[in-house]
Symmetry: C2
């Protein structure tokens, strides 16, 4: 709990500014402002309540990294279209035996209040741990979803979307059920690891007696400013990852990623479906390949993500191009060929992953890979058809292992005064 005897003051004029369009990444106008602060321009500014007490005397201004913030209220929940954050937590909870619809509604109300406050850089409503004290919101986002089991436990079976039907089994799956599924799913992302951990603890405590942690995973992406190439992330295989992601500027983006406002079921209006896969990378095997062999597996240049058929990262892949011997330049089983949206009936998903590294097995094998999170209006037209194709003949499949899986219905954003899922729980 913040110490109330210390006057409330903002630590930086930056904190309450509107978020920028970069999702907290790249070098933004706000970084310019933040840096200007080093010369004293914004030091000592005050006004507005941030919830935490003033920082000590030697405080220096936050840069954009700390001061950028996402908005909790909106048409969609946060954490879907924002830029990748440096730190992420995924967690699933199961409702406890005694908890039903009423307790779930109260939980989602608590969670929404906490998310709104923390995303604004304020303290948690109850018993704040102070771990995020004197940091800015750091682009924190908190996103909530419902799993298949939630609807039975709350007597809301009739409201369960058919899109939540269990994913088909894939032959390459090696799923750990204890780290899969769950009644409730929470995604936390932030550009500061302590801000993210602070949020995770607050969310866990809010669960109280209503829900119990089922599984939890930690991930990361690049720190803002660490790379000169902020558009596409690199994964732990060293590949650019997400080159073909649909862009919000594309005319069919909303249709592919979000349930329409006329949503079916109605409570999913402006929502989306998240497929979550813990994909272990078999790095010891992968790293034995030459760069050329790795590029043949992916179908793209490792250095800059350009298709093997030529051009740069954004150049369309020429699937028909052949070499002097008549062999396709982009191999038939290349990952990028198989996942091309125009070869999958227009299927598209927005990939928004975190890398993970949970140490090493006893034999020195890294337990590392991708916390794959993808977003789509309909998993049967997004993840499923693509994964079916990959399952049949993807050259990458021998270097990865799907170890956990989840599918969650993520309702639209809460309006002011509303909590996430209210239209389901009080519909």
């Amino acid at each position: 709990m913040p110490d109330q005897s210390v006057p409330q003051a903002r630590t930086s004029a930056e904190v309450a500014q509107a978020p920028d369009s970069t999702g907290g990444h790249g070098v933004s106008r706000r970084a310019l402002l933040g840096t200007a602060g080093a010369t004293g321009l914004v030091l000592g500014a005050s006004g507005g309540a941030v919830g935490y007490a003033a920082a000590p005397a030697q405080a220096t201004p936050l840069t954009s990294v700390g001061s950028d913030r996402g908005m909790f209220h909106g048409k969609h929940q946060p954490g879907i279209t924002e830029g990748l954050q440096a730190r992420g937590h995924l967690a699933a909870f199961d409702l406890t035996a005694g908890a039903g619809r009423k307790e779930a509604a109260a939980l989602l109300r608590r969670w929404s209040t906490t998310a709104e406050r923390l995303m604004a850089g304020e303290a948690a409503p109850h018993d704040d741990t102070d771990v995020a004290r004197d940091a800015g919101p750091s682009s924190l986002t908190i996103t909530f979803g419902f799993g298949h089991g939630f609807f039975d436990r709350t007597g809301l079976e009739k409201q369960r979307p058919s899109a939540l039907d269990p994913l088909p089994d894939f032959s390459s799956d090696r799923l750990d059920k204890a780290r899969s599924d769950g009644d409730l799913w929470v995604q936390i992302g932030a550009n500061d690891a302590l801000v993210a951990f602070h949020a995770l603890r607050a969310i866990q405590k809010d669960a109280g007696g209503a829900a119990r942690l089922r599984w939890q995973m930690n991930g990361f992406n690049r720190t803002p400013g660490a790379t000169a190439h902020p558009m596409t992330a690199r994964n732990l295989m060293g590949q650019l990852d997400g080159t073909r992601n649909p862009k919000p500027s594309e005319s069919d983006f909303d249709r592919r990623i979000f349930v329409p406002a006329s949503g079916d079921p109605a409570w999913m209006a402006n929502g989306s479906y998240a497929v979550v896969r813990r994909i272990r990378m078999l790095l010891d095997d992968w790293e034995k390949l030459s760069t050329a062999a790795q590029e043949a597996v992916i179908g793209r240049r490792k250095s800059n993500g350009a298709p093997l058929s030529g051009g740069d990262e954004t150049t369309p892949m020429d699937l028909e191009k052949a070499d002097a011997k008549g062999e396709y330049i982009v191999p038939l089983n290349a990952h990028a060929r198989i996942t091309r949206p125009d070869k999958n009936s227009g299927a598209a998903m927005l990939r928004r992953p975190f890398s993970y590294h949970d140490g090493f097995d006893a034999d020195g094998t890294p337990d590392a890979g991708l916390l794959f999170v993808c977003w789509q209006a309909d998993p049967l037209r997004g993840f499923v058809p693509v994964q079916r194709k990959l399952d049949r003949g993807d050259a990458l499949s021998q270097f990865i292992r799907h170890e956990a899986s989840g599918l969650f219905a993520v309702p639209g954003g809460a309006a002011k005064g509303e909590y996430v899922g209210q239209r389901l729980l009080e519909g």
Copy 2:
């Protein structure tokens, strides 16, 4: 391995600049330069070899976060006095059965070459994984140390410093031997998680057949720019942590932290001893305390680190100050009272920790706390006497648990053309 068919070019004029004095933290002159780059001032600069090929066309300049670099060569090894980094890996290796002094020397030579290159933002000497490609050095430091067992295995028992004698048992220790000790210790820190992981994999591969990973731990600190209070870190208990750290500007800093140039043994000249403890925080218990009760445990204000006797974070603690009832304001068993250097015969250590969070136990208890790393010229005058006192009556002890421990001799920095430990291995 970088793709040699793409022209070598710097992605930013920032990369080759000298490191700044903030250790990559705070808002520096270089952040100003980096931000200026957003207006195009430094875009497209070239010259100098960075080892990675040019980033794709939409490259934007690195900010200080990415471009700051530490120096591998110097009087001391890197990673001791630099500011805390956002991501850290600690790893211990044991020499394999067939490896002796010769293999150890070759290993330290490989490791030194890799550390020098990666810290400069270049690719690893062999089979680079590309995971750090198009990121800057991001204040990467790589630090090497020798454990007690190293000297038996290499026939160098006579060179083993008495300071490496095993630490005494403390009554509160609950040490996991499998995650303690080790022949060789490597500390990696960087402000970008992928840069740190890239270094860890390169170091692991360099070990080859000479050494095998014994244990490995991941940690984190705040992201540069996320906090308005960069001087002192906050830990996962929400406390400012490191307030009383000796400062390089203090006249006795070197004497306390580093072995003298006349070192005994000679090969440890300008070296230091690292005590490493995995300290689990019992957060479920800690967070049940009121803020006032937590502050009595520590002896300092949670909000700003000021002593309970008054002032601000830097105000000396008044140990004699009493309240109206004659009770000490700073309780006798307060952590900050017991650890006061002037009550411990001047014992001082430089604490440079990472927080850690390895998920949750099955009952929802967080496996989180501090990867405590402290540096001193002599553990018997640094860590040991302080820990002895804490072991006897520290109010904090019931909220923490030491789960792993290591003590390592970290030789001085390598001169140009030299490798770390050369004076030991070829002495």
